[in-house]
Amino acid sequence: MNPATTKTWDEFMEGVWRQNPVFVMVLGMCPTLAVTVSAVNALSMGLATLFVLVCSCGLVSMMRKIVPKEVRIAIYIVIIATFVTVVDYAIQAISLALYDALGAFIQLIVVNCIILGRAEAHAAKNPPLPAMVNATGMGIGFVIGLFALGAVREILGAGSLFGVSLFGPDFQPWVIMVLPPGGFFVLGGWLLLFSWIERRKQRRLTEATQNA
């Protein structure tokens, strides 16, 4: 791979894995905990956020040369709010049931700190293409995080995945998983798993360097 491709890949994977917004940075917890009661809800919320993230980072990046730094936050918020409104209309047009299930959390994408954070920390300093690649990576990382929560909560809370029953009609739903505490428990479980993997990797690394 040539260096340019490697760098792009690196930018992309940063958000997907190394700086995963849910499991590593623990950002945007409000929708993460609130709407992940089913895999469909989680995935749609993640995709909505991904769309807003990519579009607003692209636009912010295009405008980075002409935005005065005194009013940059106001401008970013206007841009983000615009794309959130677009998503809001789009989801209403696609499915009202989904719109009701996601509730106020679609509008609340505006205050999702992942988006403002990316706009301020990355998009404002880089040309549109790398900015959008980076935002796509972050967005996909967020989708993965939400889906991981939503899938576990739906499997245990309803015995199904994407509405398809997994265990037959006699399954006993774990009511707590579709209630708010379930979100915290599952998030805690995933964080535990990821930090365990990370710690094991670190230990292997130190052992390898000591042996060498």
């Binding site: 935005v67 005194e70 009013v71 615009t82 409104t85 789009a90 209403q92 009202l96 009511v175 209630l179």
Partner: protein, 249 residues
């Protein structure tokens, strides 16, 4: 199109030189440049929003209509089309003009007249709401003028405990209460002859009583209260005017 630009300009006008510009040499952007940029951004954003609104308007309206129709068809299975009406506080009814989010007159009750495929009145559907265990339970119920009874219910919105309170949409014994729940008016047509009431599980004795689900008494009671409140408000105004609704106009 310039409307979204106004508030941010006021904000930046209040703080001409923010504290962030401490690095030497201090560069203060002229106010006109800020206004120009914000105006440009707002114009672009405004265009995007208008575009999104226009292109989704029809789909959103159709979705909302389908959702309402589906809720009504569920409680009145014979229905094929619906017309939205208002029951006015002074008595009398009128078709509702301007669908969607237009506000209705205070005291007026919204209901749907459902017609079968021949355009004959199949039933009346109305919404009711009452406080349940977790939050307000909103239901839609179907009323049949011929038997003067409630013939079906559906849940519009609720946040009851899954596995307990939400049995009101799945429990067959509970739903059997609404095959012919008596809702006759008294002789003077001012109130229901018998208040619709939820009673303890296993003690239903009269056709106007609802047998509660064991273990979900509070939610069951909310359903009964929602039907009763809504029927008490709607039926005295509706029943004298039923002939106006007899066939689809």
């Amino acid at each position: 199109m310039t409307k979204p630009a106004n508030p941010p300009v006021v904000v930046s006008g209040c703080h001409p030189a923010p504290a962030g510009s401490a690095s030497p040499p201090p560069q203060v952007t002229p106010t006109t440049a800020m206004i120009r940029t914000m105006g440009l951004v707002s114009a672009i954003c405004g265009l995007i929003i208008v575009g999104a609104y226009q292109s989704t308007y029809d789909a959103v309206a159709a979705n909302k209509r389908i959702a309402t129709e589906r809720a009504v068809f569920k409680v009145i299975p014979a229905a094929k089309s619906i017309v939205e009406y208002l029951a006015l506080p002074a008595g009398g009814i009128e078709p509702r003009v301007g669908a969607g989010d237009t506000p209705i007159a205070p005291g007026a009750v919204k209901f749907f007249a459902a017609y079968d495929e021949r355009g004959q009145l199949a039933g009346i559907a109305a919404e009711g709401a009452a406080k349940g265990y977790a939050d307000t339970v909103r239901i839609m119920f179907g009323y049949s003028p011929s038997c003067q009874c409630v013939v079906g219910i559906g849940v519009v919105a609720m946040r009851e405990t899954p596995g307990i309170g939400d049995k009101i949409i799945t429990d067959k014994d509970f739903l059997a209460n609404f095959k012919a729940l008596d809702a006759k008016l008294s002789a003077d047509l001012a109130t229901l002859a018998n208040e619709v009431k939820t009673v303890k599980h296993g003690t239903k004795a009269n056709p106007w009583q609802i047998d509660a689900i064991a273990g979900a008494t509070i939610t069951s009671r909310a359903v009964g209260k929602a039907i009763n409140d809504s029927a008490q408000a709607l039926l005295p105004r509706l029943v004298p005017n039923l002939d106006k609704l007899a066939s689809k106009s």
